[in-house]
Symmetry: C2
Subunit: 334 residues, 2 copies
Amino acid sequence: MATIYEVSKAAGVSLATVSRVMNGNARVSDRTRDKVLKAMDELGYKPNSIAQSLASNRSNSVGLLVSALHGSFFGNMMSTVEDVLRNAGKHVIITAGHSDEQQEKDAIEFLLDRRCDALILHAEAVSDEYLLELSKRDVEVVLINRRIEEMAEHCFYTDNELGGYLATKAAIDAGHTSIAYISGPLFKQDATERLQGHKRALSEAGIKFNPQLMVEGGFHEDEGAQGYLDLVAVNQPFTALVCANDEMASGAMTAAREQGVLIPEQLSVVGFDDVLFARYLYPKLTTIDNPIQKMGNEAAHWVLEHVYKQKKTSAHTNLFAPKLVVRDSLMEIK
Amino acid sequence: MATIYEVSKAAGVSLATVSRVMNGNARVSDRTRDKVLKAMDELGYKPNSIAQSLASNRSNSVGLLVSALHGSFFGNMMSTVEDVLRNAGKHVIITAGHSDEQQEKDAIEFLLDRRCDALILHAEAVSDEYLLELSKRDVEVVLINRRIEEMAEHCFYTDNELGGYLATKAAIDAGHTSIAYISGPLFKQDATERLQGHKRALSEAGIKFNPQLMVEGGFHEDEGAQGYLDLVAVNQPFTALVCANDEMASGAMTAAREQGVLIPEQLSVVGFDDVLFARYLYPKLTTIDNPIQKMGNEAAHWVLEHVYKQKKTSAHTNLFAPKLVVRDSLMEIK
DNA sequence: TTTAATCATGAAAGCGCTTACATTTATTTT
DNA sequence: AAAATAAATGTAAGCGCTTTCATGATTAAA
């Protein structure tokens, strides 16, 4: 591989000049620029990004932490982030935290060791304090799906309360009055917010919240199935079931069907997230669009602007509004 | 951040010695080693991986190319690869090729610019020649889901013919004799191999292959739906439908159901891949397990051994055997 | 003991770039 | 035309490591 030195010799200029035309910052006369470009071309020169990093103290890499690489929730977000950053010549190192505090810390430590210029984190298990501390180090950190007051500008998140509200509101608008709810784990902020939204929709419609019609799950499919069974067991009939995410909705639907319940004729179901497989389900799931992909996009652009000083392309939003996605699992009640 | 220089001063030894204890290769007396370790600890020293890379001419990063970051097919594979390599202190740069020749080349070029020590590629669109050429450069390249004779040792792939055979065999074993087939795009090797397997199963059972009962799709859901419709249009009744992947099976199932066809009572369906959502489908999809995750694991270990000289942990297989996964979408015919 | 062989450590030259500063060359200004 | 200013280019010192080679300290062999 040709080095900058060989290019400079071939072009008959100094190292510095070659570096200048590469980086396009300083002014170089058109004549020399052409000479250099030609030499680069002839030698098939490619800058060594590692040497660039060392000399410039920028790794041009950004770390991305997600809970899991597989699964439906992160795919599009990772995809967007990778796309935006790669088009800017940056590379992204993706790691998985598996919703576990130690694993998240390890992953972040790893990214730090790699000298990432910025970190885009979907961190679920580490504390606010840890993240605050982290943001004081010499990396920029931005948070997805989480809001910490002290670093609000660095946070991109959904209005989960609104989402929860919309989900239940949809059921109410369809005429349902007995509405059960399978919540996410209540130690997670998004789960509690969604539940609040659920309650608001109920009270707005003058329906009293019935604790017996709510169970807490862990956002996984099997807990959706179990949740449905538990709900049925208390013997309080309900015609609609709102779930705090699509996985649990899927589990609940399967469990209900195994009991011989027709969906949506006998039971309407609403999910949350609108993950990829929501439309593969039968019946196709009515759910809440959680615009995580847009958040990824914003986060990536934020990094480009704040860390790599690209000029602003558009205004930033930190708060993203969820929307109802109408499909087939919610039915008008007679 | 402390540098190696500060550590060496604190420990009262030379740079070289510190480097030695870091890398554990050369021999250092226990006394000095302890001194150095202590100094590192006190200073909170972390080696600068970029400087290491520059000096050692190893980036400790491996590039991973997949078709798409989202979608069900790659998730587990990426996950495994990331996990194995990160535990070895290597990092993986993931890029997406979107099954497009130019995009795949761009992505590979990008990884090469990043000075990856190795490339793990799930490349669908570039030619064998291109890959062969690539493998002559100074990166190790390993291929997933593709076999090229000249670099067979570097290839990890499924026995697609066997998979296609097993899928159709399952239908035959359940008593079906009129079996339709929705193929993948026939310019892709895996699609043609699966089709061959299908034909072999047919002929082994003494069933004549009927070209009218086969359509070619593009591995996407909508083409599964369209394929089903086209198949019905030719007016040759069939009781089982084998699809070359799960996406198309899902599309076909939806289309059939919309026509009022009961699955599996009136139509049995078999898929291929066993992607994550296969079990979310209704009815749960009987399909062929395509062990892509295992291939990812093998590929990652191969890189560790051949590029980073880790000792061999187990024997390698290049060819992976698919298996039938029995669920609910295939029914015994009376 | 003397000599050779072995082991532990240090000195210093890179790795391929960026960038502050110095120098040269071209352009204005008076 | 000389002096002042601006623009283009070069020089060289790092960035934080690895690694070769040389040297000094030990140990083993004679």
